[in-house]
Amino acid sequence: MPYRLELTGITKRFPGVLANDNVSFAVKPGEIHALLGENGAGKSTLVKMIYGIMQPDAGEIRWDGQVVNIANPKDARRLGVGMVFQHFSLFEALTVFENIALGMDAKIPPRELEARIRAVMTKYGLLLDPHRTVATLSVGERQRIEIVRALLLDPKLLIMDEPTSVLTPQEVEALFVVLRLLAQQGCSILYISHKLHEIKALCDTATILRAGKLVDTCDPREETSRSMAEKMIGAGLRDIVRSEGRTMGLPKLVVSRLSTHKTGHFDVPVNDVSFSVRAGEIFGIAGVAGNGQNALLDALSGEIVSDDKDAVTLDGNPLGLLGTTKRRKRGLCAVPEERNGHAAVGDFTLSDNSVLTARDRLGMVIMGLLNSGAAKTYTGRVIADFAVKALGPASTAGSLSGGNLQKFIMGREILQKPSVLVVSQPTWGVDAGAAAAIHQALVDLAAAGSAIVVISQDLDELLALSDTLAVINMGQLSASRAVGDVSVEEIGLLMGGVHQSVEASDAVPA
């Protein structure tokens, strides 16, 4: 039987970068094939060429044994290539049905299309109401729309670009069931992910890319996560180093009965959240996106000011009534989830972005005048210490790639040595090497006596990093648990909103 897809000597060059250098690999019918690599390794470029968004400069693509030229996504869909993008291309104000109809090339009468949508949903257990507005759906449900859209075209190859980054462990399991069923029926799957244990659980073959070159094609079931990670980064993986004999100090950040008001239509406020973080402790907050993480971060950073001065205290000093600038002055710094436009101003230079959050703590403003020398020196230090790939302090934030901007923002806050640091998604979109560096920096900051709150959807990250863990669901925070005493299953259930299975003794009788 010929390969479903065979790439030979694919090369793609961008100005100054060789994105893909002579890459060859093949996917059999019904195979689940992983494409692994760090950010910038060339996975996305490769996939874009298979889906017809870009054309290779050299090399050939064979489909079922025939050489093909995929000029655009329409050509790709005609061959039977379906793709589920990492960033969904959905229209929030339109319904599920309308979104799917927009993605169909053929003109199908609405009634027939709806019948086909329902048939696919039933067959694969991807249940959704076709007439709901997308804005009201969770991220997992939105992903189902993309999958249904791809499946309606009866694909022979389905490309999934980091599909699990936003799902709960249970949703991931459900997705895997669908993917295995598809593979059984002969559909090949090209699966892009950073999460190595998922690839071990799901994939038959893994192709590993590094800096645009093919490093290895291996059977992930015979590899360890560590061995694959080392192939990806081309060096030994650094573990988080924790200093010996670490002791927690007194409670530093104390949050008591913190609530926010509902502001927008799709906003999830936090309700009666209490926790405390000691000096030297890393406190992890897990949860599926859209469960109040944004409101919690804003309420801690001071973007949302509380009605109660004691809702947030630092070393016993009330911060509840203060805004961000005053909280920063007193030592509480924060990194919001959205990098561009919230944590950094895209059109400003890195230096100016440093001034925005570090001006008071590091004396970058004297009598109302900017001390641009100090800002430049500090920014240079952030760039050097966090290995930010940027031309210098004068580059604009918007010119950096997502992962590099994240490194800059994390570095900018960490080097201010705040006594409390609140971060959301510290390693979102950052590759394994850089993620390890950010993790190490957070651990070192804690070891120096700071209290750290990490809000993340990546459970592996939280389990590796935190001392204590709690789960946020529908704006409410579960009881805190020491990381050693809690299983992934329990956390997964809490993320899905099942509270009673954990800590039955804490439950209040109704």
Partner: protein, 309 residues
């Protein structure tokens, strides 16, 4: 108030509302595609002078309406080229188009001042309009029926056709529409041209239906009311119909108050004249207060589209 007066008022309201409704319907489609064209007033004036000139020379009101539409399209293409092809700021370009339209129409119309044209005649035979009810139903010229048909047609287009779905998708998320493979710029050009045609027809209604002669700035800010109405109507065609008639009613009140008849003259006519504009401001303020409660605004409204890759 007797029946004849009531009917006379009603007919006046219909006449005053129609140009606003037609222009606003065009702008609604434009805004649904994600483009904010503030040049409606300018396009109306260009349509008005084109319609006037053709009516003056040919006496054929249908040709005059077509000329208005064509002139409106030409004006809208200036806007489209600057904002869609060159990604110029839409607000500034729209304002410039209004200023240009005001000046251009005044220049083109300078040799026609104080020269009358004939008004457009009712569409149906006069016999149908002799009875008061008949007059209310059948006593109007073509543009009035056209405006009603367009309300239904635009609603149907937006919500029941694939092309309408694509137009809404482009206004909602241009990047996604682009990545699926739709031509964002192409769709927006068509929408902008449609908006120009409708504004041009609305402008031509002024010499054809309301005042049978050329007067500088004869649209008197109705283009701005049309823009405000689109927001007031939450981008929905049937609400636009209701809104246009509400404004038409208030404007008619001004005429009756000025004529010094009855209870309306208790309030000075200047207050009545200011009423539509005050109402516009009030509506815009009210809507921005309850912004969170899903105002239905197209998410990409007014943002220039630049493909990501």
């Amino acid at each position: 108030m007797d029946l004849t007066l009531a009917i006379a008022i009603l007919v006046t309201v219909v006449g005053a509302s129609t140009p606003i409704l037609i222009a606003a319907l065009g702008e609604l489609v434009v805004e649904r595609s994600g483009v904010l064209n503030l040049g409606v007033e300018g396009m109306m004036l260009i349509g008005a002078i084109a319609g006037f000139v053709v009516q003056f020379h040919t006496g054929n009101p249908y040709l005059a309406l077509l000329a208005g539409a064509a002139a409106g399209v030409m004006a809208s293409l200036i806007f489209g080229f600057l904002t869609l092809s060159l990604s110029a700021n839409q607000t500034a370009t729209g304002l410039a188009l209004t200023i240009f339209g005001t000046g251009f129409s005044a220049l083109a119309g300078s040799s026609y001042s104080a020269r009358p044209v004939t008004l457009m005649q009712p569409l149906f035979p006069v016999e149908l309009a002799t009875h008061p009810i008949g007059k209310v139903l059948f006593g109007y010229a073509f543009p009035i029926y056209f405006s009603f048909i367009m309300v239904v047609a635009i609603w149907y287009f937006l919500h029941k056709t694939r092309a309408g779905l694509i137009l809404r998708a482009v206004g909602e998320n241009d990047q996604s529409a682009h990545s699926i493979g739709y031509s964002v710029t192409g769709v927006r050009y068509l929408a902008v041209m449609f908006g120009g045609a409708m504004a041009g027809i609305a402008g031509a209604c002024f010499p054809l239906l309301l005042t049978p002669q050329w007067a500088e700035r004869m649209t008197a800010g109705r283009g701005w009311i049309a823009v405000a109405l689109v927001v007031f109507a939450s981008w929905k065609p049937f609400r636009l119909l209701a809104g246009a008639y509400l404004f038409g009613l208030v404007m008619t009140m001004e005429l009756y108050a000025k004529a010094g008849g009855g209870p309306l003259s208790v309030i000075p006519s200047e207050v009545w004249a200011a009423m539509p504009y005050l109402a516009t401001i009030a509506v815009l303020v009210l809507i921005s207060i309850r912004r969170d409660a899903s105002t239905n605004a197209p998410a990409c409204l007014g943002k220039p589209f630049l493909p990501a890759n």
